[in-house]
């Protein structure tokens, strides 16, 4: 990722190279995979912050929260896939 950032910022040619590289189907799959992991991690992290604030700390709340995290993440991951392809 840092390599692609470096390439994309190095010069106009580097930017074109990075663009072409990210257009490949394997690169798209990797980008989607990374985005998926990051989105899920972020949604689960937001849930941690919500629970730090004292919301949903019961057993029932915990179960419900975990379901919400999976549902929201799934929607975001599908949207990310639509965006990547």
């Amino acid at each position: 990722m840092l390599y692609v950032l470096d390439l994309s910022l190095s010069s106009a040619e580097g930017f074109a190279q990075a663009k072409a590289f990210l257009g490949g189907s394997l690169a798209k799959l990797v980008v989607w995979g990374l985005l998926s992991a990051l989105l899920y991690h972020m949604v689960a992290g937001v849930r941690h912050l919500v629970m730090d604030a004292g919301v949903g700390e019961t057993l029932e709340g915990g179960k419900q929260g975990s379901k919400i995290v999976i549902a929201v993440s799934a929607v975001l991951i599908v949207l990310a896939g639509v965006w990547v392809w």
Partner: protein
């Protein structure tokens, strides 16, 4: 006896806070970049280069880079002290854990230096 010398700050409370503050910064940076890329579908080199050439973007990027190092360290430290234990690995646990943490620390430092180099060459 508590022999924790490898945590981020000698204080679990500070680590707890650093993890959350860095998390919010990283979320803001990620959402900003994602939003920028989604709204600039025909992105040109001039736009992209111009974005990262701004001082405000340098500050934001460097803040995110520092946060990434801190966040990853707290996370990896927590995982290593939870799972690389004498209960799971016997006498080798301390050496194994230290090695794992050393690799993580060097990786984070390397990413930080590399990131600074990229940002400052723009």
């Amino acid at each position: 006896m508590v022999t924790n010398v490898t945590n981020f700050s000698r204080s679990g409370l500070f680590d707890w806070m650093a993890q959350r503050v860095s998390a919010v910064i990283l979320a803001a940076y990620f959402l900003f970049l994602l939003g920028y890329l989604v709204t600039h579908s025909g992105l040109t080199f001039a736009d992209w280069h111009g974005l990262f050439a701004q001082t405000s973007m340098r500050v934001f990027s460097l803040l995110a880079l520092v946060s990434l190092g801190a966040h990853a360290w707290v996370g990896m430290w927590t995982i290593s002290t939870d799972y690389l234990t004498p209960m799971a690995f016997g006498k080798a646990a301390t050496a194994l854990r230290f090695l794992f943490q050393a690799v993580c620390g060097i990786a984070m430092f390397a990413f930080f230096v590399w990131g600074v180099q990229i940002l400052w060459s723009v």
